[in-house]
C-alpha cells in the first residue's frame, strides 16, 4: 500500500470515527443520573373523613352539630406551597407542578401526589401549606384544561380559581326536602351596595395551615410517604364556628363575612400522619 492511499485510509477512518461518535449520541440508553446520596423523595396522600369515618359521596350519612343531616356531592380543592420545616429552622418548599396540587374526591388519582422534588435528606418536624392558592399563584387562566379549569372563579368577583368547592345537600325534621348548601371558597369581595356592580375591593381568603406532626426523616434515596387528612366535619362544626345549615344561606360565595368565618374553621381542618410502615 503506498503512502497516498494510506493517508486516505487514515482520513476515512477519522471521518468514520467521528460519524460513529455523533450517531451514538442519539442512543436512548443513557441511565438517569443516580440520585445524589443526600436527597430523598416524598409522596403525599390526601384522605377525607367525617367524624373520623372515610367520606362517602352522595350518601346522606353526615350531620352538623345542630342535627341537620346532609350528603356531600362534590369536594374539590387546591393546596399549594407545601413546606417541610427543618428541625431547628429553615424549610424546603415543594416546587413540582408549580407547587400546586388539585384534589377531587371523585378522581382517585388526585388523592396521591408524587412531586418529583429531590428533597434534602434531613429530619423535618412539620409540614405546612397554603389552602387554596396564594395571591401570587392565583392567576386567571393558568389552567386551560379540566379538571382544574372548572375551578375558575369569575373575573368580576376577583378572578383566579375557587380554593374549594364543597357541594352538599341537607335536610332536617322541619325541612324534609334536601336543600343545597355550597361551601365555595375563593377571593372575597367588599360591596358598597349588595350588588355585583358595586364591588369596591377584594379580599384574599387563602390561608396558611401548619400541621404538627411527629418529626420525620427524609432518607437519602428513599421515598417518604405523608398522609394529609381533611376532617370535613370541622368545616361545619369548627372550632371556632359551629354553623347551622338550616339558617345559613345556600352558599357563601359573594358573602365575605361568611367566607371569613369558614376560613377560620379551615385552619383546623387538616391533620398530618406518617403511615406506620414508614
Amino acid at each position: 500500500m503506498n503512502a497516498p492511499i494510506r493517508s486516505t485510509w487514515i482520513a476515512i477512518f477519522g471521518i468514520l470515527f467521528l460519524t460513529a461518535f455523533i450517531l451514538n449520541g442519539c442512543k436512548k440508553e443513557d441511565p438517569a443520573p443516580p440520585t445524589p446520596p443526600d436527597f430523598g423523595g416524598i409522596s403525599i396522600q390526601f384522605n377525607h373523613v367525617f367524624n373520623g369515618i372515610p367520606l362517602v359521596l352522595d350518601s346522606l350519612a353526615w350531620s352538623d352539630d345542630f342535627g341537620n343531616e346532609f350528603e356531600v356531592n362534590e369536594l374539590q380543592y387546591f393546596i399549594s406551597d407545601v413546606r417541610l420545616h427543618l428541625h431547628g429552622g429553615g424549610a424546603y418548599q415543594i416546587g413540582s407542578s408549580d407547587g400546586i396540587h388539585y384534589v377531587d374526591a371523585r378522581i382517585p388519582a388526585s388523592h396521591q401526589w408524587y412531586p418529583g422534588d429531590q428533597i434534602p435528606s434531613a429530619t423535618y418536624d412539620s409540614v405546612s401549606f397554603t389552602f387554596g392558592l396564594s395571591a401570587v399563584k392565583n392567576l386567571s387562566n393558568r389552567f386551560p384544561d379540566p379538571p382544574e379549569r372548572d375551578m375558575f372563579w369569575p373575573e368580576l368577583l376577583g378572578g383566579g380559581y375557587h380554593y374549594m368547592k364543597l357541594n352538599t345537600k341537607w335536610k332536617n325534621d322541619s325541612v324534609p326536602e334536601l336543600r343545597p348548601f355550597m361551601m365555595h371558597l375563593g377571593i372575597g369581595q367588599i360591596y358598597d351596595l349588595n350588588k355585583p356592580d358595586s364591588i369596591i375591593g377584594f379580599v384574599q381568603n387563602f390561608f396558611f395551615v401548619k400541621l404538627d406532626s411527629s418529626a420525620f426523616t427524609i432518607e437519602a434515596g428513599k421515598q417518604k410517604a405523608l398522609v394529609i387528612t381533611m376532617h370535613l366535619d370541622r368545616w361545619f362544626d369548627g372550632p371556632p364556628n359551629a354553623f347551622n345549615l338550616a339558617i345559613l344561606p345556600q352558599g357563601i360565595m359573594q358573602n365575605q363575612p361568611l367566607m371569613h368565618e369558614v376560613c377560620l374553621n379551615g385552619r383546623g381542618v387538616f391533620t398530618c400522619q406518617l403511615p406506620t410502615a414508614n
Binding site: D150, F152, L156, Y161, E177, P180, M182, Q250, G251
Partner: protein, 375 residues
C-alpha cells in the same frame, strides 16, 4: 462496489441507531394541525390510531354529506349525518327543519330519535363521553362504543336513524368511483371499511370548531359588550343570576360547558331509560344529562334533551321560576327551594342579550364545513 465503500456501509450500519425507514409508499397523507382558539383547552381528544390528516378530513366531509352511507341510493331511504346535523343550525336540526316538525328527528322508517339534537361543535375538547348521557367514552367496557368514530356505525344501524347495515353501506361506497381513491389517500388502502368511514367522519367532525363569537372578540379585548350584554354576563356569573357558569363555563372556560352531567331541576319523576344514571349507575345521576355548550343557541332550538323549550326565553323563564324539586337536583341549582333565580323581565332580557353574544355566524357560513361536490 469497492472495498472502501463496503467498509463505510458496514461501519455506518453498525453504529447507526436509527430505525430503518419504512418502505416508501404512495400513502403519504398530509398531517392536519388543529389551531387552538384563544383560551381554549390544550388537551385534544384525538385517538392515537386516527391522527388528523387533510385527506382524512376531506373524505370525512364527503361521507358526512353523502346519503349513500346509509347503504341506499334510493332518494326515499338515503340518509346521512347532514340530514339531521345541519351547518346552518350549528349542526343541530333546528326547530324549523322542513321534515322534522318542531325539531324532533326521526329515522328512515319514521321512528323518532329517543332524544332531541345536542351540540356537535367543539367536540375535540370532549373527554367525558359523547351523547346526552355520555354513553360513548374511552373506558367503556363495551368495545365499539368508545370514540367519536363509533358513532358512525351506530348511526348506520340505529332503527331511529339510518336503519341499515354496515355491509350494505361499505359495498355501496366501495362501488362509487372516486371513493376508493380517497380511502387510499387517507388510509393507505382503497378497500372501504366501516372503521375507516368512522375515522374519516370523526376527523371531519373534530374540525367543527366554533370560537368566533362576539364574546370571543370581547375576551381578546377587540370589542366591548353593550351595557345590557354586560349586565347579562354579570347575572350569568353571579348568585343574582343563578351562577350559570358553574355548569356552563365562562371566561375561564370558553367552551361554555364543563361537559359534565347534572340534573338541572326540570322534573320530579324520571322515566327516561337513557339518562346519565343508565351509564354511571350512580343514583345521584338520575335525571342528569350533559350540560350542553351555550354557544350558538340562536340556531339550535328547541332546547334540552327532550326539546321541551322552544325559545331561549322559555329556558330563561325556567331557570327563573320553573325549577322543580327532586332529591336528585344538583346542589349547584341553589335557587331550587325558591323555584328559581326570580329574574325581573329586564334582567331576563339582559341575560338573553348576553347569551346571544355567543353566536358565531362565521361558523355556520364557513364553506369548509359545507356540502362538498360528491363523487
Amino acid at each position: 462496489m469497492n472495498r472502501i465503500t463496503l467498509y463505510i456501509i458496514i461501519f455506518l450500519a453498525l453504529f447507526s441507531c436509527k430505525k430503518s425507514d419504512p418502505p416508501v409508499s404512495s400513502y403519504q397523507p398530509t398531517p392536519y394541525q388543529i389551531v387552538i382558539p384563544f383560551r381554549f383547552p390544550t388537551q385534544l381528544n384525538i385517538p392515537d390510531d386516527n391522527p388528523m390528516t387533510v385527506e382524512g378530513i376531506e373524505l370525512g366531509r364527503m361521507l358526512f354529506y353523502d346519503g349513500r352511507i346509509s347503504g341506499s341510493a334510493h332518494p326515499d331511504s338515503m340518509m346521512t349525518c347532514a340530514t339531521c346535523h345541519l351547518q346552518s343550525r350549528s349542526f343541530e336540526c333546528g326547530i324549523d327543519h322542513p321534515k322534522y316538525t318542531g325539531g324532533h328527528p326521526f329515522g328512515v322508517t319514521g321512528i323518532p330519535t329517543p332524544h332531541y339534537m345536542m351540540p356537535m361543535i367543539n367536540l375535540v375538547w370532549t373527554h367525558t363521553g359523547y351523547l346526552w348521557n355520555g354513553k360513548i367514552y374511552p373506558d367503556n367496557p363495551a368495545p365499539g362504543i368508545r370514540h367519536l368514530e363509533d358513532l358512525v356505525w351506530m348511526a348506520i344501524i340505529a332503527p331511529h336513524e339510518m336503519n341499515s347495515d354496515t355491509n350494505k353501506a361499505k359495498i355501496l361506497i366501495q362501488s362509487i368511483s372516486g371513493y376508493p381513491e380517497m380511502f387510499q389517500k387517507a388510509f393507505g388502502s382503497s378497500t372501504v371499511t366501516v372503521r375507516n368511514m368512522g375515522k374519516a367522519i370523526a376527523q371531519f367532525v373534530r374540525t367543527l370548531i366554533s370560537a368566533d363569537s362576539k364574546f370571543d372578540s370581547y375576551l381578546k379585548g377587540e370589542v366591548q359588550l353593550m351595557p345590557n350584554e354586560l349586565n347579562g354576563y354579570v347575572l350569568f356569573m353571579t348568585e343574582q343570576g343563578g351562577d350559570c357558569f358553574h355548569c356552563h363555563g365562562g371566561e375561564g372556560n370558553p367552551l361554555f360547558t364543563t361537559n359534565l352531567f347534572y340534573n338541572n331541576g326540570k322534573d320530579s319523576v324520571f322515566t327516561d331509560p337513557r339518562d346519565r344514571y343508565q351509564v354511571s349507575g350512580d343514583p345521584s345521576d338520575i335525571g342528569a344529562y350533559k350540560a350542553p355548550t351555550l354557544r350558538n343557541l340562536i340556531f339550535t332550538a328547541p332546547y334540552m334533551h327532550d326539546g321541551r323549550f322552544k325559545t331561549i326565553d322559555e329556558v330563561i323563564d325556567f331557570y327563573s321560576s320553573g325549577l322543580v324539586w327532586s332529591p336528585y337536583v344538583n346542589p349547584l341549582m341553589h335557587h331550587i327551594s325558591s323555584g328559581g333565580n326570580q329574574l325581573t323581565p329586564a334582567k331576563k332580557a339582559d341575560l338573553k342579550a348576553f347569551l346571544l353574544t355567543l353566536t358565531d355566524s362565521s361558523f355556520v357560513n364557513n364553506p369548509a364545513f359545507g356540502m362538498p361536490d360528491l363523487p
